[in-house]
Amino acid sequence: MIPFSPNLLSDLQAILQYQFMQHAFEAGTVIAIVAGIIGYFVVLRRSSFAAHALSEIGFAGAAGSVLIGINPIFGLLSFSTISGAGIAVLGKRATNRDVEIGSVLAFALGLGVLFISLYAGYATEAYSILFGEILGISSSNVIITLVLSLLILIAIALIYRPLLFASLDEEVAEAKGVRILLLGVIFMLLLAAAVSIAVQVVGVLLIFALMVTPAATAVRLTKKPKYAVLISVLIALFATWTGLFISFYAPYPVSFFVTAIVFITYLVVRFVRPTR
């Protein structure tokens, strides 16, 4: 392992000579962009509990995939998208879904525990699904992450205005012809896909770190939605890159550094700008 030097650029060049670090930076970068953007709408729509639930429900799918020997990302994706669509269709308004979501997520977590216990070598697999393992990301998962991210970004660009409008003033948006239910289902599907790829960096339990905290920080800093989205992405990118960089030299998990950086950023902004 190359030792740390004060020249950060040469450190970065040295780090990127390792293929696993290249993969981590590639996947981490697109995930941070997607999470930062989707996160803005999660915060605006007060859907952070749904985001958290989708990732924990995805845990059951991931654990099931490990059990039957397929790539966990497929289990994560299928469980979270199905439940995401279900949440959007069943619950009338995002803010009133706590009980339904909570009941489903508790059952899904229980199911995940069962799958993990049925799988002989469970400890490491379970650990990486729960807390993330970006340093072990395979090249095929980098490709899957890139493709999914691209699809999510195209979809968000298409529905950006109706989604923003419906998130801000649902009744007027509906009167102006926005299909609220359809839009809600599309958003939950995109959220489910974003959660599924973000789990690779921070794990199902720490999904807030990329999907909520950067956006929650950004909305305190600007009243313009497009700047808030940009700032949210920048915070997520900064945390992911810095987390990867530090973890190369320190023997601690990337997810700890990512969560710590976004949390400190949030605290600083909250402290400096307590009122808006």
Partner: protein, 264 residues
């Protein structure tokens, strides 16, 4: 006062659920430029009337027309202020952004003419006297300021009809007076037809061309002088109701206090 060009017309209109109509057999006509108050107890079906005109709900029977055709969803010729809003004091988004969304938020992709939209939004904010609020956060506004922004939101697409669902509730008397005055100016200067749902008719009464009074599953319409009489309201409620007037023209309806609109 409106012209005789009919903007909204209803014949034998029955709405609600097939097993439980909210109100039935209503016929009325509203002309261009008229300022109409929609009055009645809670649960009487005032918002239902707006949902019909917005094309969000279909009648059980009868005919309703707006601009000479069946209501359709997403009609840019209708500006709407709903009773409920998702916005609260945590919403840190500039007012101007909301007004812009009301103009183009139903379109896919990004705006191709952001400058024109920005100008349109600030011009509309000027109409409602809210220029200084353009860059303020929605969450930081008072009730009266918010209603001005909602009015700008409703006006930005330059509609011919305004549907205003209880914009005066939760405002103090001075702000109610200011807002009603502003709404009347907008209605008269732009020759738009406005429907306003309110609990208290008194702040509006001097500006009104028509009243649509909904109670007890029935609808009474006409000028305020025609509808707000003891005889008409007694017939409407099906119980003795007295309409009293003070020297300044304010009215009090006595006898309908115990009535609840959600009762059959």
């Amino acid at each position: 006062m409106g012209t005789h060009e009919e903007i909204v017309g209803a014949q034998d209109l029955t709405v609600g659920y097939t097993s439980k109509p909210v109100w039935q057999n209503a016929s009325f006509s509203v002309n261009r430029g008229e300022f109409v108050a929609v009055i009645g107890p809670n649960g009487a079906g005032k918002t239902t009337m707006f949902r019909l005109l917005l094309g969000l709900q279909q009648p059980i029977s009868g005919i309703i027309n707006i601009f000479g055709a069946k209501p359709r969803r997403g009609n840019p010729n209708i500006g709407y202020i709903p009773q409920r809003h998702t916005i609260d004091n945590e919403t840190n988004i500039a007012c101007e952004e909301l007004v812009r969304l009301a103009y183009s938020g139903n379109k896919l992709g990004f705006s191709l003419s952001p400058r024109e939209e920005k100008k349109l939004a600030s011009d509309t904010l000027a109409v409602v006297g809210a220029t200084e609020l353009a860059n303020r956060s929605l969450g930081s506004l008072s009730g009266g300021e918010l209603q001005r922004i909602f009015l700008a939101e409703a006006l930005v697409s330059n509609p011919e009809v305004l549907l205003l669902d209880e914009p005066l509730s939760n405002l103090d008397i001075k702000r109610i007076k200011d807002l009603v005055g502003l709404m009347n100016t907008v209605v008269k200067s732009r020759n738009v037809t406005a429907f306003l749902v309110a609990h208290d008719i008194n702040p509006l009464i001097q500006f009104l061309d028509k009243v649509i009074y909904i109670a007890n599953g029935k609808v009474a319409t006409g000028t305020p002088e025609e509808v707000l009489t003891s005889r008409r309201l007694t017939a409407l409620y099906g119980t003795h109701v007295e309409v009293l007037r003070d020297s300044r023209g304010n009215i009090v309806v006595v006898g309908a206090e115990d009535y609840h609109g959600d009762q059959p």
